[in-house]
């Protein structure tokens, strides 16, 4: 293999895989959502404190569902963190390794009085991980993302498009949600002291040098000894688990939207109006672009 062959191969693969593209319309849709986001910035700033609650609740809810205990470690070690940028920018939650896409739009009706959590939703015999947003008025929205095990075939239902991709809409959905909103001060434990560079490497785990910092024995040892923990606003905290019972929330007349991005199956389940569900789905962008 020589250099010229690699150069030519890359060029031809790129040209044939992407002969042409038209992003203008999609970008204009994004701009519309962005304008809405700026209008809702004040609301989101008020929601920031609640959103922190939501993030930590992730830990509590996951910890309390026995069938998810095995996944909890992976989720926690997915270095869940919260970004609260400066005024006017808004709030973005990032579950770095578990969610490839995140919504950039949430309805004001949901953000008002937000007490969001992430945990599990039971559908049939399966538990699903994801982001949950719920408010005191009873509006809620679930977003789950999982690697597709099969061929990525969509179920029967009403065909719609999400960001140009084929999706299926299912109405009148019913089931059980596990995981109620919880308060930050009921779940967060002591702040953890980690070796220098270890916490930073977890937060910015794709920065050059992060991997080597994480692989240092003292960092590995500290992570192992920490047990379950979460990262909020750049600090690591232990998690008080086992304090909460798992109340169930039965739902009916909900809307479910399913589509695939690459090999990832994305599902939005909500009792919000259909238009809002579609709008949230349309707003989902790669997590990287939110940072």
């Amino acid at each position: 293999m020589n250099q010229a062959q690699i150069e030519q191969g890359l060029r031809e693969i790129a040209e044939q895989a992407v002969p042409e593209v038209d992003l203008l319309s999609a970008i204009h849709v994004g701009l519309t959502a962005d304008a809405k986001e700026h209008r809702g910035a004040a609301v989101r700033k008020r929601a920031a404190r609640s959103a922190v609650t939501a993030l930590v609740t992730t830990v509590a809810v996951v910890a309390m569902v026995p069938s998810l205990r095995a996944k909890a470690g992976a989720l926690l070690r997915g270095w869940v963190q919260m970004h609260i940028p400066g005024p006017g920018v808004g709030v973005a939650m990032s579950m770095r390794t578990d969610l490839a896409l995140q919504p950039t739009y949430l309805p004001d009706a949901l953000l008002s009085g937000l007490v969001s959590v992430a945990g599990s939703v039971t559908v049939g015999a399966q538990d699903h991980m994801g982001l949950f947003f719920g408010n005191a008025q009873g509006h809620w929205l679930w977003i789950t993302q999982e690697s597709a095990q099969g061929t990525g075939v969509l179920p029967e239902g009403q065909h719609v498009r999400v960001r140009g991709r084929q999706a299926v809409l299912l109405n009148d959905q019913s089931g059980v949600l596990l995981g109620p909103p919880r308060r930050l001060d009921e779940t967060i434990g002591e702040e953890l002291t980690l070796p220098p560079g270890c916490l930073e490497a977890m937060i910015e785990n794709d920065r050059p040098g992060s991997e080597s910092a994480l692989l240092k024995p003292d960092c590995q040892k500290a992570i192992e000894e920490a047990g379950e923990f979460t990262i909020v606003n750049g600090k690591a905290f232990t998690v008080r688990s086992g304090q909460f019972g798992p109340p169930e929330m039965h739902y009916a007349n909900a809307t479910r939207l399913i589509w695939y991005v690459g090999t990832t199956r994305i599902e939005v389940l909500s009792n919000l109006p259909l238009g809002e569900v579609l709008r949230v789905a349309e707003s989902m962008v790669p997590t990287a672009s939110l940072e």
Partner: protein, 195 residues
């Protein structure tokens, strides 16, 4: 509207001016992201978001400099992050992916024999397979070096790191490629070594 005028308007908050750089650079940006991510749809999402970020950051942009080098920095960095998060290994024969079907079409030089053509197709397939087995960061430096034709100094500038860091990353990527493509080692002494 010229690029420089469009950028000036963007810096004044005129979002409609974004159409100019989008039309000009969307194809090469998506191709670039695709080579790093391996998924066309995700690549399009990354580039869409990158254009919006470019608008948000347009005040940081020096209008005396060309747009593309500045913008591709955003695209490369976001593509690496997206690839890291998605952790996707795109199968060559994925039902939705174009790569599996296009590989045999590559390098169909009419002057080559069927055997040579088959060998070239196999080699291209090997390149793509090897690329997918690199880490996103390694894939990015390979794409920057061999697709964009960037020098190590330019890559260091893009990554905002020391040239030695890029050299080390590129070295590890080349080593990995050599291992993965070992059976394609050139028997022709005139073939230019991977460097």
């Amino acid at each position: 509207m010229e690029e420089r005028e469009a950028i000036a308007r963007l810096q004044k908050g005129d979002i409609s001016a974004l159409d100019v750089p989008v039309r000009e650079y969307q194809v090469q940006a998506v191709r670039l992201a695709y080579l790093i991510i391996g998924d066309r749809h995700l690549a399009e999402d990354v580039v869409q978001a990158a254009f919006l970020r470019a608008f948000e950051r347009s005040r940081q942009f020096d209008t005396e400099r060309p747009f593309w080098p500045w913008f591709r920095r955003i695209v490369v960095n976001d593509a690496v992050k997206a690839a890291t998060r998605s952790r996707q290994h795109i199968p060559l024969r994925s039902e939705s992916d174009e790569v599996g079907s296009l590989i045999p079409q590559l390098c169909t030089d009419p002057d080559t024999s069927p055997e040579e053509t088959a060998g070239a197709a196999e080699l291209r397939q090997a390149v793509w397979t090897a690329l997918q087995q690199l880490s996103p960061a390694q894939r990015a430096v390979v794409v920057q070096r061999y697709y964009l034709g960037m020098s190590e100094a330019e890559m260091a500038d893009l990554r905002e790191c020391a040239p030695g860091t890029v050299k080390a990353l590129l070295h590890s990527a080349r080593q990995r490629l050599r291992t993965l493509l070992g059976r394609f080692s050139p028997t022709n002494p005139a073939a230019k070594r991977l460097e």
